[in-house]
């Protein structure tokens, strides 16, 4: 039985649906990351799961109990969870007081409160800040206090909304380290919303992709990033070559796909005649000045239409009858003497291509 289950969950504001038909099951001890672009409805979903808001439709079950509307049951369930908001609000009191609040509300004894607060302050590396006015803390420190405040009640579920958004890289990595420790050391179920995909990949064992209020895909990070089930998910997880085509030939699992007169070979279980999207990651594309005899089944000649340096990498856009984006190191680009207009060969393997059935 899942610890948290949402069925056909929907939410609307001013008559406009911001979440639609969300079905989600999160098991005990799982680290689940909700990824999606800004405005996708991640915070709305987290607020529904934390029982802060009441859904417009659907149900939320906590440990098998329907907690969608009942006030008493909701408080009981909420007390087994903790939620860290994207921009946490601190109470006008010292760090200790802020962290102790949740325990006081649960009528814990003073000694227990002191012991637990001290312990959690150590965990988040804020022991020296115990007596500081919480309002004087930096963004990263406030976030750590918020996490400590959420953890001190030893919740079964820890919900985090963009835990490192708007933080500098040093503060962000400290927060991530704390979360990694929580995942590794404690048996807390973690639900986290983030638009930082690599963060979701690093921290979570299961990922859900929420786009335009709909949960389009749920699976392990490798499935979501390498085998997106829709064009929207593919675009969001960074697949930059998405080409519309139709399967024209099939030889076992090897499909030949027509892309505006060009053919791409890919491993796919789609049938001949099916309309598909062909996805290829830029990092799977290799460039050469001559047509090399290699294992890559897909080789296209074209001229470079765009070159952009991104740190140590160069992004190359090739016009080979369709636009194809690839990346290589700046050093390799220099060695190949790649320039705009130069004709090169781009190649990629059939196994590097992911094929998605087109909806229409």
């Amino acid at each position: 039985m899942p610890l948290i289950e949402a069925t056909s969950l929907g939410q609307e504001y001013d008559g406009r649906y911001v979440l639609k038909g969300i079905d989600l099951r999160i098991n005990k001890g799982e680290a689940f990351a909700l990824i999606g672009p800004t405005g996708a409805g991640k915070t709305t979903l987290l607020r529904l799961l934390d029982l802060l808001d009441t859904p417009a439709s659907g149900q939320v079950f906590f440990d098998g109990v329907d907690v969608t509307r009942s006030g008493h049951r909701r408080l009981e369930a909420r007390r087994r969870m903790s939620y860290v908001q994207q921009k946490p609000a601190v109470f006008t009191m010292d760090v200790y007081g802020n962290i102790a609040c949740g325990l006081k509300w649960r009528h814990e004894k003073k000694e227990v409160i002191r012991r637990k607060v001290d312990s959690v302050l150590e965990l988040v590396g804020m022991a020296d800040y115990k007596n500081r006015d919480a309002r004087t803390l930096s963004g990263g420190e406030t976030q750590r206090v918020a996490i400590a405040r959420a953890l001190v009640t030893e919740p079964e579920v820890l919900i985090l909304d963009e835990p490192t958004a708007n933080l500098d890289p040093v503060s962000a990595s400290k927060i991530e380290a704390v979360l990694e420790k929580i995942i590794a050391e404690q048996k807390t179920t973690l639900i986290m919303a983030t638009h930082d995909m690599p963060q979701g990949q690093r921290l979570a064992g299961k990922i859900g992709v929420l786009i335009n209020g709909q949960l389009l895909q749920v699976g392990n990070p490798n499935d979501v990033f390498c085998s997106p089930q829709s064009k929207e998910v593919a675009e969001f997880v960074g697949v930059e070559n998405i080409l519309a085509g139709i399967i024209v030939e099939k030889d076992d699992s090897l499909a030949t796909i027509d892309i505006n007169g060009n053919t791409i070979q890919a491993v796919s279980d789609c049938a001949v005649g099916e309309k598909v999207h062909v996805c290829a990651r830029p990092e799977d594309i290799t460039f050469a000045l001559t047509r090399e005899a290699g294992s890559a089944r897909n080789v296209f000649e074209g001229s470079i239409s765009k070159m952009i340096a991104v740190g140590p990498l160069a992004r190359i856009e090739l016009d080979c009858g369709f636009p194809l984006l690839g990346v290589l190191t700046t050093r390799s680009a220099q060695e190949l003497q790649l320039t705009i207009g130069r004709r090169v060969y781009a190649s990629f393997k059939a196994t590097a291509v992911h094929v998605i059935k087109r909806r229409s």
């Binding site: 903790s82 609000a89 006008t92 609040c101 949740g102 509300w105 405040r149 009640t153």
Partner: protein, 228 residues
């Protein structure tokens, strides 16, 4: 100008020598204003919280009405108390007219809208995230409301100080329902009015100086609270 200076010196003399009449008026003013203020605060804090935290039809209208009553004329309140509690009034039998109790009652009616309105504003000024954070950390609705009140405590205290200031400085209610009996219902303001009418300018000025000094203290406290 010389006459004014002489009056000022005399006033200081009355204050320094702790003149009985001046001290009595000060004591009555402070005690009646303090009791009115405490009673109003006890009434307005839960009522203001209830209005702020509850959703009900007509809430906006109610808040607008409360705000309109900020400028309730003191003589109107005095008249109301007179009509109800004077011998001929429906509650005349209680015998509280021309007593400090009637003055307290009048001042409560006078300052309640101000204190209530400012408490509601103080609570509305607290970031909604405070209450949501508390709720998400397992606070019940009551506990979440308490932390919101705690966050607004300085603004709430400022509203109480403001109410005290209005009660302390008002003259209409005190004069109409207290009767201005020396040492009993005579306040700084009613005494000042009386002494001015009787031509005792020095005494009236001494009372005025005390009134201003206490108002200054209230203002300093108010400013301090608003800076927190």
């Amino acid at each position: 100008m010389g006459e004014l200076w002489d009056a000022f010196v005399k006033a200081l003399h009355l204050i320094v020598t702790l003149d009985r009449e001046v001290m009595d008026a000060t004591r009555v003013s402070l005690s009646i204003a303090a009791i009115s203020c405490a009673a109003t605060a006890l009434l307005c804090l839960p009522l203001g919280s209830l209005i702020h935290f509850r959703r009900f039809p007509g809430k906006r209208f109610l808040i607008s009405t409360i705000q309109t009553l900020y400028s309730l004329p003191t003589v109107t309140v005095g008249l109301l108390i007179f009509v109800i509690f004077s011998q001929a009034g429906p509650l005349g039998g209680l015998g509280i007219f021309l007593t400090p109790t009637a003055m307290v009652l009048g001042q409560v009616i006078l300052i309640a809208p101000v204190m209530l309105g400012l408490i509601i504003s103080a609570l509305s000024g607290v970031d909604k995230a405070v209450s949501e954070t508390a709720t998400s950390l397992g606070a019940s609705r009551f506990q979440a409301a308490l932390i919101t009140i705690r966050e607004a405590r300085f603004a709430i205290m400022a509203s109480v100080v403001m109410g005290f200031g209005r009660a302390f400085a008002e003259v209409g209610v005190a004069n109409m329902v207290g009767g201005n009996f020396a040492g009993y219902t005579r306040t700084l303001t009613t005494d000042m009015m009386l002494q001015t009418q009787m031509g005792n300018t020095e005494l009236a000025m001494a009372l005025g100086i005390i009134l201003i000094l206490i108002a200054l203290v209230i203002n300093v406290v108010l400013n301090r609270l608003q800076q927190r």
